[in-house]
């Protein structure tokens, strides 16, 4: 399947969850906000939220400092 992550297309295996995508991108679940098809996903649901072909994913990453 092909999904769009922050505007770029990525080819990935079917059945990939948000958690698995973040792991592939080496991002920490607790330090991101994820939107899939214009819906903000609750962190607690990252493992069971399965992406599908054409999904538009936006990932906002937070780093320390304030």
């Amino acid at each position: 399947m092909i999904i769009i992550v922050n505007g770029d297309s990525m080819t990935l295996d079917d059945g990939l969850s948000v958690s698995m995508l973040l792991e592939r991108l080496k991002l920490t679940e607790k330090r991101v906000v994820v939107e899939v098809n214009e819906e903000i996903i609750d962190k607690n649901n990252f493992p069971e939220n399965i992406l599908s072909d054409g999904s538009k994913v936006e990932i906002i990453q937070f780093v320390p400092g304030g």
Partner: protein
């Protein structure tokens, strides 16, 4: 109805041909700062119907009403009326939150809701808007004190507790706009995620402001429908790349400016 003008924000009947210097003689002869329709001026001029003039004596401490009137004349009544009825929520009052709150106080936002569990400590003085004699105070109490010294009309609600999923709604329910000003990335993420899911309110958040390089990369971008992000997104506070006053201050003021823009467009 007869035409009026406003002198120090109080309505006064307008008479054709009246000049600025004549009004000064009448209302505040010792004034040495003259603000005409929001702009400081030096020269005399004829006053038109509906004009606003403010007379100030340099060095004289104004009371809260006078401060309000000065701010109205500075920012224009249109801007003041729009933002003075608004409430801004600030999550965390460290480097970002303390500078942001001060900018909002100077803008004459009506009310701010600030939350932070921390106390002022010496290492905070490198970038946070606190003073040596406030070390040991709760940050929310110290900030409230500092904000009142700038704008006694600002309403400040303080919460000295750690903000998390359980109390966000109770603390920030009344806000028109939310500012994420935490230091810790897990808190940033939790707050922004929860706020965007719970409410249809704009959130202005920050990520990537450490060190001193590339300050001009701290631009504000619209990241999601209700989320604005400031910072380069990558430069983390870490050993060798600490948080310093300039970039933290720039980020906080980009937040303040975006909030102003959002409130004026509401």
């Amino acid at each position: 109805m007869n035409a009026t003008i406003k002198v120090n924000e109080k309505p006064v009947p307008w008479k054709s041909g009246t000049t600025l210097f004549q009004l000064r003689r009448q209302f505040k002869p010792d004034a040495d700062i003259l603000v005409y329709n929001g702009f400081p001026v030096d020269d005399d001029r004829e006053i038109q119907a509906n004009d606003r003039v403010t007379f100030i004596r340099r060095g004289e401490a104004p009371d809260a009403d006078e401060i309000r009137n000065l701010m109205i004349s500075r920012h224009s009544p249109e801007v003041y009326d729009k933002i003075n009825k608004r409430t801004v929520g600030i999550a965390g009052v460290g480097g970002l939150g303390s500078s942001l709150a001060i900018a909002l106080a100077r803008l004459c936002i009506g009310r701010v809701i600030i939350a932070d569990f921390d106390v002022v400590e010496p290492s905070n003085l490198n970038r946070q808007q606190y003073f040596i004699d406030q070390i040991g105070m709760l940050k929310v109490d110290a900030l409230k004190e500092n904000l009142f010294r700038i704008n006694p009309n600002l309403v400040v609600d303080t919460h000295s507790e750690k903000v998390d999923r359980k109390n966000i709604i109770g603390i920030y329910r009344d806000c028109d706009v939310l500012a994420e000003c935490f230091d810790n990335p897990e808190s940033k993420s939790e707050f922004v995620e929860f706020a965007l899911r719970e409410w249809d309110k704009p959130v202005v958040a920050v990520s990537g402001i450490a060190g001193y390089r590339d300050a001009d990369k701290l631009r504000c971008r619209k990241a999601l429908r209700n989320l604005y992000m400031i910072g380069d997104g990558v430069t983390a506070a870490a050993p060798g790349s600490g948080l310093m006053a300039p970039k933290v201050g720039i980020a906080a003021h980009l937040q303040a400016n975006k909030i102003l823009e959002i409130l004026l467009d509401m």
